[in-house]
C-alpha cells in the first residue's frame, strides 16, 4: 500500500457566513505530483493555507506524514511551501534571502543554497536584490526556497503565474526531476489545466469551495477520450447486451442512466441498431470526446447543479 503523505478529512474553512472550503477530502500519496485545479477563488489557496498552518481550519482535520494538525509542527521541516505570491525581503539579494531561511531551518551546508538557486537557474543573479527581480524570477526564487533543505513534500500555489513559456517548460522539467530523482512529493495548484496535466499524475478538481472530483491521470484520460454515450433506463441490461450482442468489453457504466463505450472502430449507428433490436429503450445516443478544458467546464457545471 502506498504511503499517504497528506490527507484531508472533511476540511472546512468558513469566514463568518462565507464558506471558502466545504468539507474537502483529498489524499496525496508519496511520490505523487498532485494537481489542484480550480478557478480563481475556488478554494485552492485556502486549502493550502490550512494545510501549511497559515490559516486555522473551521472543521475537519488533515494529516501530514501521519501527524494530525496538532502534532504536525514537528514535521514542518519536511515540507517546503510557496503560498500565494513569492514574498521575500526586497533589500536582500536572492542568496541573502535564502541564507536567511537557511539560518531559520538550521541548514549548515550552504551548498544547498547554491544547489537550490542552480536548480531554478538563478545562479547568475544570486547577488541581485529581490526588488529588482522580474515576476518570473521571483517565482523561481520562491520555488528555490521551497526546495531548500530537501523537503519530502513541496506545496506550491500557482507557481507558473508570471512565467514565460520557456520558464514554464523549464519549471515542468524541474518538477519532474525533483519527483523522479529525489522522490519528492509535489502538490501544485493552478487554474491552467493543460499545464498541470503535463506534469501531474493525480488531480483534484475544486470549485466554489467544493471538491468536485479526485482522479488519476489515467482516469482523466479515460474520461476525456472519445466515446459513445448511451442513455437508457436499464443500464444493467444494456451492459449485458453490449457484451453478448456486440462483443464489446471496453465500456463503463457511469450511473443508472448512462453507459460510455470506449471501444475503437465501433459506430454509434451499429450500437443503436443492435440495442433497439434487442428491445432496449434508448433515450439518447451520441458520440462524445472532450478536451481537458471542456471536461473541467462540465465538472464545474455539475458543481453548480
Amino acid at each position: 500500500m502506498r504511503e499517504i503523505v497528506l490527507q484531508t478529512k472533511r476540511l472546512t474553512k468558513k469566514y463568518k457566513n462565507f464558506v471558502a472550503l466545504n468539507s474537502a477530502d483529498m489524499t496525496v500519496y508519496r511520490k505523487d505530483i498532485y494537481g489542484l485545479i480550480g478557478r480563481n477563488g475556488a478554494g485552492k489557496t485556502t486549502l493550502m493555507k490550512m494545510v501549511t498552518g497559515l490559516a486555522q481550519k473551521t472543521e475537519g482535520d488533515f494529516e501530514v506524514f501521519g501527524k494530525n494538525s496538532n502534532e504536525y509542527v514537528s514535521e514542518k521541516k519536511r515540507v517546503g511551501c510557496l503560498i500565494e505570491n513569492p514574498a521575500f525581503f526586497p533589500n536582500l539579494t536572492a542568496y541573502q534571502n535564502l541564507r536567511y531561511y537557511a539560518y531559520q531551518k538550521g541548514i549548515t551546508d550552504l551548498k544547498q543554497i547554491d544547489d537550490a538557486l542552480d536548480s531554478v537557474k538563478l545562479t547568475d543573479v544570486r547577488n541581485r536584490k529581490f526588488r529588482k527581480f522580474s515576476l518570473g524570477m521571483k517565482q523561481r526564487l520562491g520555488i528555490a526556497f521551497a526546495m531548500l533543505d530537501n523537503p519530502d513534500l513541496i506545496i506550491l500555489d500557482e507557481p507558473i503565474n508570471g512565467l514565460d513559456p520557456i520558464g514554464i517548460s523549464e519549471l515542468r522539467d524541474t518538477f519532474r526531476r525533483l519527483n523522479e530523482e529525489r522522490g519528492i512529493t509535489l502538490v501544485i495548484s493552478s487554474h491552467i489545466l493543460s499545464e498541470l496535466y503535463a506534469v501531474a499524475n493525480r488531480f483534484l478538481f475544486i470549485d466554489k469551495g467544493i471538491v468536485l472530483k479526485e482522479v488519476t491521470k489515467a482516469e482523466l484520460d479515460f474520461e476525456c477520450s472519445r466515446c459513445i454515450v448511451v442513455k437508457t433506463n436499464d443500464t444493467k441490461r444494456g451492459a449485458t447486451m453490449l457484451e453478448e450482442l456486440l462483443g464489446i468489453n471496453d465500456f463503463k457504466v457511469i450511473d443508472e442512466k448512462e453507459i460510455r463505450i470506449y471501444a475503437p472502430n465501433i459506430k454509434s449507428v451499429d450500437v443503436n441498431r443492435a440495442l433497439v433490436n434487442g428491445g432496449l429503450d434508448i433515450s439518447e445516443i451520441f458520440e462524445s470526446g472532450v478536451s481537458l478544458e471542456d471536461y473541467f467546464k462540465q465538472l464545474v457545471g455539475e458543481g453548480k447543479s
Binding site: G53, A87, Y101
Partner: protein
C-alpha cells in the same frame, strides 16, 4: 528558536534602519556632550531637565548665555551631571525602538515573508517568542550604546568633567531596563496586532503623546493625584536615573511587568490564530 534569532540578526544588520538608529544615538550623544545639555531631540516626558535645579544664578540669566557660555557654566557646575540628565531625558529613544520593532517584526509581515517561516520552518509560539526576544535584545543594546556613547563623548569632549563612574552608569542602565522592556513589549505586542509597518507606525508614533495627554486631562479635569504621574513611563524613566527609593523601584517594576504581560498577551492572542496574508 536560536535559529530564528540568528536569521533575524543576519537580516537586521543588513537593513538601513538598523544603522540609522545607531547613528542617530551616536549623533545625539556627541551633540549633547558638545553643548553640555541633553540633546533636545531626545527630550520627552513630563519631567524637565536637571539643569534648572542646579543653577546658582536665576533661570532668566542662563537664558541670556550663548551656547558656549552655557557649556562653560555647566561644566564647572559640580552639582550638574550631564550623563544623569541625559539618561533621564532620553525617553525619545522610544522612537528608535519603533525602528527596531519594524525591522524585526513588522517588515516580515509587510513583505509577506512571514508565510515562508510559518509554513515550513517553525511554530507560531516559537516565532512569537523569538521575535519579541530579539526586539527586546536590540532595544537593550541600543540603550547600552546610548549609555556608553555619552560616557565616551563626555571623556572626549569635556575631559571627563562631572562624569559618572562606570558603576553608576550601569546602575542607571539596569534601573531603566524595566521601562525599556515594557516599551519593547508594548511595541512588539502592537506589531503582532497590527502586523503591517504603516499601521504600526500610525499607532506607535503618537502613542506616548496620547498617553501623556490622557494623563494630563485626567489631572486637570478629575483633580487626579499628581503622585500617580510619577508612575507614567517617562516619569519612571526619569526617576530611575535619580537614585529612586526601593519602594519606588518595586512599584515601577510591577507597573512595567504588568505592561509586559498585558501587551504580550494581547499580541500573542491576536497572532496565535490569525490568518497570515
Amino acid at each position: 528558536m536560536i535559529n530564528i534569532l540568528k536569521s533575524d540578526l543576519y537580516r537586521a544588520v543588513r537593513s538601513k534602519g538598523f544603522y540609522i538608529a545607531l547613528v542617530f544615538v551616536l549623533i545625539v550623544s556627541v551633540f549633547s556632550a558638545a553643548i553640555m545639555q541633553p540633546g533636545i531631540i531626545f527630550s520627552a516626558g513630563l519631567q524637565q531637565s536637571d539643569i534648572y535645579e542646579c543653577l546658582d544664578i536665576p533661570e532668566s540669566e542662563l537664558a541670556k548665555f550663548s551656547i558656549s557660555e552655557t557649556r562653560d557654566y555647566l561644566i564647572h557646575n559640580d552639582r550638574y551631571f550631564l550623563e544623569r540628565d541625559y539618561f533621564s531625558q532620553s525617553m525619545n529613544i522610544y522612537y528608535m525602538f519603533i525602528i527596531m520593532t519594524v525591522i524585526v517584526i513588522a517588515s516580515d509581515f509587510s513583505n509577506g515573508s512571514v508565510k515562508n517561516t510559518l509554513s515550513s520552518a517553525i511554530s507560531r509560539r516559537k516565532y512569537y517568542i523569538s521575535k519579541v526576544g530579539l526586539t527586546v535584545i536590540l532595544c537593550m543594546l541600543l540603550m547600552l550604546l546610548n549609555a556608553v556613547s555619552i560616557h565616551l563623548c563626555m571623556r572626549i569632549f569635556n575631559n571627563g568633567a562631572n562624569i559618572l563612574s562606570f558603576a553608576e552608569l550601569m546602575k542607571i542602565y539596569v534601573l531603566q531596563l524595566p521601562v525599556v522592556l515594557a516599551l519593547a513589549s508594548v511595541l512588539s505586542g502592537l506589531a503582532f496586532v497590527f502586523r503591517k509597518t504603516a499601521a504600526l507606525n500610525g499607532v506607535s508614533i503618537p502613542l506616548i503623546f496620547c498617553f501623556q495627554l490622557i494623563l494630563e486631562i485626567f489631572k486637570v479635569l478629575l483633580k487626579f493625584d499628581e503622585a500617580y504621574l510619577d508612575y507614567e513611563l517617562s516619569s519612571i524613566y526619569y526617576y530611575m536615573a535619580h537614585d529612586p527609593s526601593s519602594s519606588y523601584i518595586i512599584k515601577s517594576c510591577l507597573i512595567c511587568g504588568a505592561l509586559i504581560l498585558v501587551f504580550n498577551f494581547i499580541g500573542y492572542r491576536s497572532f496565535r490564530k490569525a490568518e497570515i496574508r
